[in-house]
Amino acid sequence: MKCPMETRESAGFLLAYGAGKLDAETTALLERHMGVCQACREFAGHQRAVSAALDAWEAPPVSADFDRRLYQRIEKEVSWWDLLTRPFRPMLVRQGLPVAAAACIMVMAGALLQRPATVEPAAPAESAQLESVQPEQVEHALDAMQMLSDFSHQVRAAANESEM
């Protein structure tokens, strides 16, 4: 057997041996090796001592009311959820699907509204010149507005006549 002290990987054999967790075949091989290897013998001896020392450390028993306290906490949690959902329960039962659909629409609308507003990049000076408003354009716009206003008056007058 190759000396287990040579690598950390195989030193695992010595750790397992010290803890009494090594299988019979490997134990036999290791003990044969330890017969001629003092380093491994010392390592295993110290490891056994550590293992025995750790064995002496007993943990205190679990409190008798551990389960009761846990179930109380679970119960409380369930009760809170129950309390929170109680007002919505009849609605959820009767209108589960429409409510779910409405919730989906709201989530989608929220996601759309969350999208950052697109900011137009600052136009360069040349294009600002090209896109500047000319006096003729203003006149056209005013004419169009006047025309729309007249049209609106006519529509309202016709509607009043039909009502009478």
């Binding site: 950390r8 990987e9 001592a49 550590v50 450390w57 205190p60």
Partner: protein, 193 residues
């Protein structure tokens, strides 16, 4: 490999039953793992009250996760991952500042030692307590991950693979953690032989 083990894991089956609303299966899981989780946490934080509080949180998290539970790993790997995570958080949150005090005054937590049929003498009790304090100090002085690895290896008898799953590291990293941890413990505790 863990996935294959999980396929045969009875605990995972129980957890899947809990998922389907079987409260009794949760009781079975609790009964099976209560002690090991509390004891592991006790040795991690070295305070019985804190350990039980953390263990309650572990099982509460297990219960809360029932609807999303997927048996991708062995149940105990998942359980101890939660426990280790909570213990490490508790230690980092400063609860460990009280640890040193508890190492000295937490002797009320000690189980009644049964040395054959007769009661131990005062001297024996004192020797035991000194020895125990030394062991606890030595374990507490280990870096957190080394401590968790040693406790799982020594007291929970977990395989390297499972410890690796709990600590989310490789098997060789676990071997290295254990080697270093035991090396430190050997230096501090070997005289107890």
């Amino acid at each position: 490999m863990e996935g294959a083990a999980a396929a045969l894991d009875y605990d995972a089956e129980l957890m899947l039953r809990v998922q389907q609303g079987d409260g009794a299966s949760f009781g079975v899981l609790l009964g099976k793992h209560r002690s090991s989780v509390v004891h592991f946490l006790y040795r991690m934080v070295q305070n019985h009250a804190v350990a039980e509080e953390l263990a309650q949180e572990v099982f509460l998290r297990v219960y809360r996760s029932r609807s999303t539970y997927e048996p991708t790993a062995k149940f105990t790997t998942w359980l101890f991952r939660i426990a280790t995570h909570l213990a490490l958080n508790s230690l980092r949150d400063g609860k460990n500042e009280r640890l040193q005090e508890h190492l000295d005054d937490d002797t009320g937590d000690l189980p009644v030692r049964q040395v054959s049929d007769r009661r131990p003498s005062v001297e024996q009790t004192m020797v035991y307590e000194v020895k125990l304090a030394e062991i606890r100090q030595a374990v507490a002085a280990l870096p957190e991950k080394q401590r968790a690895a040693v406790l799982m290896h020594k007291y929970e008898e977990m395989e390297y693979t499972q410890i690796a799953g709990v600590l989310s590291c490789s098997e060789s990293a676990v071997k290295s953690l254990l080697f270093r941890a035991y090396e430190t413990l050997r230096k501090r505790l070997a005289h107890m032989a």
